[in-house]
Symmetry: C2
Subunit: 160 residues, 2 copies
Amino acid sequence: MKLTTYTDYALRTLMYLAANRERLVTIQDIADVHHIAKNHLTKVVHQLGVLGVVATVRGRNGGLKLGKEPVQINIGAVVRSTEPDFFMAECFDPSKNECILTSCCGLKNVLRSATTAYLGVLDGVTLENLVRKNVARTGKAEVKPLRFYAAVKTKSSHRT
Amino acid sequence: MKLTTYTDYALRTLMYLAANRERLVTIQDIADVHHIAKNHLTKVVHQLGVLGVVATVRGRNGGLKLGKEPVQINIGAVVRSTEPDFFMAECFDPSKNECILTSCCGLKNVLRSATTAYLGVLDGVTLENLVRKNVARTGKAEVKPLRFYAAVKTKSSHRT
């Protein structure tokens, strides 16, 4: 069981933007740091923009920034948006379903409940939680936002 | 997010065996009813045998049956066994992980907690629950085990 790479990239994009709030970021920055193809990231960023969690500043010195405060960005909502579906078995997809058990079997409800529990955990988490170092482990609220990328030099971070 | 087809087939195999306890079943029966390639099912059945939930009776009139009572077969345990991994993002797989956030980001713990919640739901379900029609909806314990396949005629069901 896994999330799509697309969702993985979306979450990394948001974490990068949250950790670099003092400047505008380019898609190339994120692609370079994470060794991700730029055209993949372009699609991801577009969707995050539609979702309102990433904003684009146009112009020569433009770039990306978060569209909301990290504490307002719910990880459950992001994952629901970036995953194409939660079809845990064939019976979840009406266009492909040929399983003869569909009308009467208990599996679909069980898998739906499990998926709800999974997303329920993510619904309780914000981007702020993800970029605070070890907050879950130490239980200390005063820990500073993590500077993930402090040692990573990118073209635009030199520019700003 | 989805389970593998392999797990889907494993669960269908167990449901078929639970619904046909009065006779031995062949892999061909299950393949025919569910339109699944027999060689895929052979691997699935082998693994379910190793797990002790499917037993093989050898000989000319041999076949498959459940290795335990349906109430003893935990769906969480089956899914943990049949899914190759629960690598929800790149950072879960040490052999492929190149993410520079690994040492400090909060995402991995969050996704691990969500996966634990997912499997926790399945840990509370047995094969018996899956083959009792609408038990969750009606809350009635006296409903009879489902005869999923009553209308489906297979070679071996004619034979017995």
